[in-house]
């Protein structure tokens, strides 16, 4: 027998309690990992070289306010601008409200130059651009509804009073959100009676270094107009979009803290019970020569081991599960995927280690402070 073997024997002496404790830690760490991963997905959108060049121009008042179509040519003339694309949120219904997926009206010829990381066959891009009521759809939405190229679909407007009738001419894979549908802004304008409204302008800059200056120049250009602009990078725009749901970081942070604190109480209670049941044996160990710190080490190692086992099951369980689940369908399109990053795994395992160490500190310290004689008297 070795000291680690002795620790294992102690841990396994009450198998039911061991399993329940490990599972409760595992479940808590699974929830913690899920929360942190969801927060990461919401606040850290995937970035690419192309995404780093994109900036978004919107109405300064709010995202719900539109911009004039006449801003487009003025933006194109600004130095440092490579492409300008109109992008308006359509938000229509396909057959039923439950069939939600994002739909946008865009400048068709500019779509793939601006979102150059999207993978699509050149022939499909050509077909999309040349036909006014054509659309391109992300692979996930295609698979979700069993669509194929050439299918005709009708979207029922909810924000805008029009029902575009579209023909699918292309499917893109990878690069950008694979749930989106894009159709011609020109067709949208026609259906809306050419009112000259645009939701946002998406700009592809010449180079990333010039973006701060470009952002400032755009907003200065439209300052003191009827529709002042707020220009920001794509990443900043997505973060501000997420913040419309409320302060997600604080919300998820608070829930994670409650989970960890509750688990700390449960683990501390379990360790207290386990140590109290063993107060007689701790006195015996002291009698045969174990000193207080050695006993403290035995208790700490056991507690740490239980929490670490739960942490490994919870964190890696979440990572494996999310890799095999269709997160997009389960989250009804809110989340594209849940990827447990190494930093989230490290955070989860650190929390588990913290639980293991802190939960045993008080009962372990109390047990080493108890004199051998008092411990021996307790057993008679």
């Amino acid at each position: 027998m070795t000291i680690p073997g002795f620790i294992l024997r102690n841990a396994f002496r009450n198998k039911r309690r061991l399993i329940l404790t490990v599972l409760s830690v595992a479940l808590s760490l699974f929830l913690f990992t899920t929360m942190q991963t969801a927060l990461h997905e919401l606040t850290q959108p995937p970035t690419s070289e192309a995404a780093a060049l994109r900036i978004v121009v919107r109405n300064k008042v709010s995202l719900g306010n539109v911009l004039p179509a006449k801003y487009g040519p003025r933006l194109e003339r600004l130095p440092g601008v490579r492409h300008v694309m109109k992008l308006t949120w359509f938000g229509g219904i396909y057959k039923d409200r439950a069939n939600f997926f994002p739909q946008f009206a865009v400048d068709a010829p500019q779509l793939f130059p601006v979102f150059s990381e999207a993978e699509i066959a050149p022939k499909e891009v050509q077909d999309f651009v040349k036909e006014k009521n054509a659309c391109v759809v992300g692979i996930k939405t295609m698979e979700r509804f069993g669509w194929k190229i050439g299918d005709r679909i009708t979207l029922q407007g909810t924000i805008w009073p029009c029902d575009p009738e579209l023909i699918i001419r292309g499917v893109y894979r990878k690069g950008i959100d694979m749930t989106n549908l894009f159709f011609h802004h020109e067709y949208f304008d026609e259906l809306m009676g050419n009112r000259g409204w645009v939701g946002t302008y998406w700009i592809c800059a010449e180079n990333a270094g010039g973006i701060p200056d470009l952002v400032e120049r755009i907003d200065r250009t439209f300052a003191n107009s009827d529709a002042e602009t707020k220009t920001e990078t794509e990443r900043a725009f997505q973060l501000s979009f997420v913040s419309m749901f409320g302060n997600i970081k604080v919300l998820i942070g608070s829930i994670s803290t409650v989970i960890v604190f509750t688990m700390l109480l449960v683990a501390a209670s379990t360790m207290s019970m386990a140590i109290r049941e063993r107060s007689r044996e701790i006195a015996i160990l002291k009698t045969i020569g174990f000193d207080g710190w050695q006993i403290f080490g035995l208790i700490l190692a056991e507690s740490f081991g239980l929490a670490a086992a739960g942490g490994l099951i919870g964190c890696f369980g979440a990572a494996i599960l999310f890799r095999h689940l269709d997160i997009y369908s389960l989250s009804h399109g809110v989340l594209l995927k849940l990827e447990v990053t190494p930093s989230i795994l490290a955070a989860g395992l650190t929390v588990a280690a913290f639980l293991g160490i802190v939960s045993c500190l008080v009962p372990a310290y109390s047990s080493i402070q108890t004199s051998v004689v008092v411990g021996l008297k307790e057993l008679d």
Partner: protein
């Protein structure tokens, strides 16, 4: 005559319970020689277990000295005292106190985990100790699979395995039937007579004390002389 292995000089132990102070040992002076088998007798509350605990380094005197092989046990730090207990004391309890999740072999091996012995050396010591108490055929048994007498013999093997200076036994037959009690006492006597172990036995059973070479009587924390008067 061999030198005293235990020397107790003017030792007093007081326990405080709030404002109430109880004298457990009252100016006790005592010497125990090497290879001696001593029985400490007295009624409940006489201070015999307290004296045993102080000799074994489990408790500290309020005043006076307790020297074992010339070392004043009360002067050692907690960590040094734990190491000293591991090297010098083999303790046998009334209630056996084996670790229930460990086999007889592992229970006996437990004190050796604190030493620098290799696994092979530990194994040799454990097998020898279990053979000495006649339990070579029970090495893989858990405590619950042993009788009370066998459990106590495993506890004695655990007390002996480090080859301690002193074996101290606190009412070791208190939880045993008459037959098992006789076996355990004979074993302690054998260890004293053949292995030369110094043994201090706490008991209030005169039959058990009869196995010892010398009986020391305690009452109200004081040693009694042959006429039953405090020394």
């Amino acid at each position: 005559m061999p030198d005293p292995i235990v020397q107790i000089r003017d030792l007093t132990k007081l326990y405080s319970h709030g404002e109430l102070e109880v004298t457990a040992l009252d100016h006790v002076t005592l010497a125990i020689r090497e290879n001696e088998f001593v029985a400490l007798m007295g009624p409940s509350g006489s201070g015999k277990s307290t004296l045993l605990h102080i000799i074994a380094g489990l408790d500290r005197p309020t005043s006076g000295d307790c020297l074992v092989r010339g070392i004043n046990v009360g002067d050692l730090s907690e960590t040094a005292l734990a190491e000293w207990r591991n090297n010098h004391i083999g303790f046998v309890f009334q209630t056996f106190n084996l670790i229930p999740v460990l086999t007889a072999y592992e229970n006996v091996e437990l004190p050796l985990l604190l030493t620098k012995l290799s696994a092979r050396e530990r194994s040799e010591h454990v097998i020898a100790a279990l053979a000495l108490v006649g339990l070579s055929d029970r090495v893989r048994h858990l405590p619950r699979q042993l009788s009370g007498g066998q459990e106590q013999r495993v506890a004695i093997a655990r007390a002996l395995v480090t080859d301690p200076t002193l074996v101290v036994a606190d009412e070791p037959t208190g939880n045993l039937d008459a037959h098992s009690a006789q076996e355990v006492l004979r074993l302690l006597q054998l260890l004293n007579q053949q292995a030369g172990k110094t043994i201090i036995l706490v008991t209030h059973d005169p039959k058990a004390a009869a196995f010892a070479q010398r009986t020391i009587h305690l009452e109200k924390g004081q040693l009694l002389n042959g006429t039953g008067q405090p020394l």
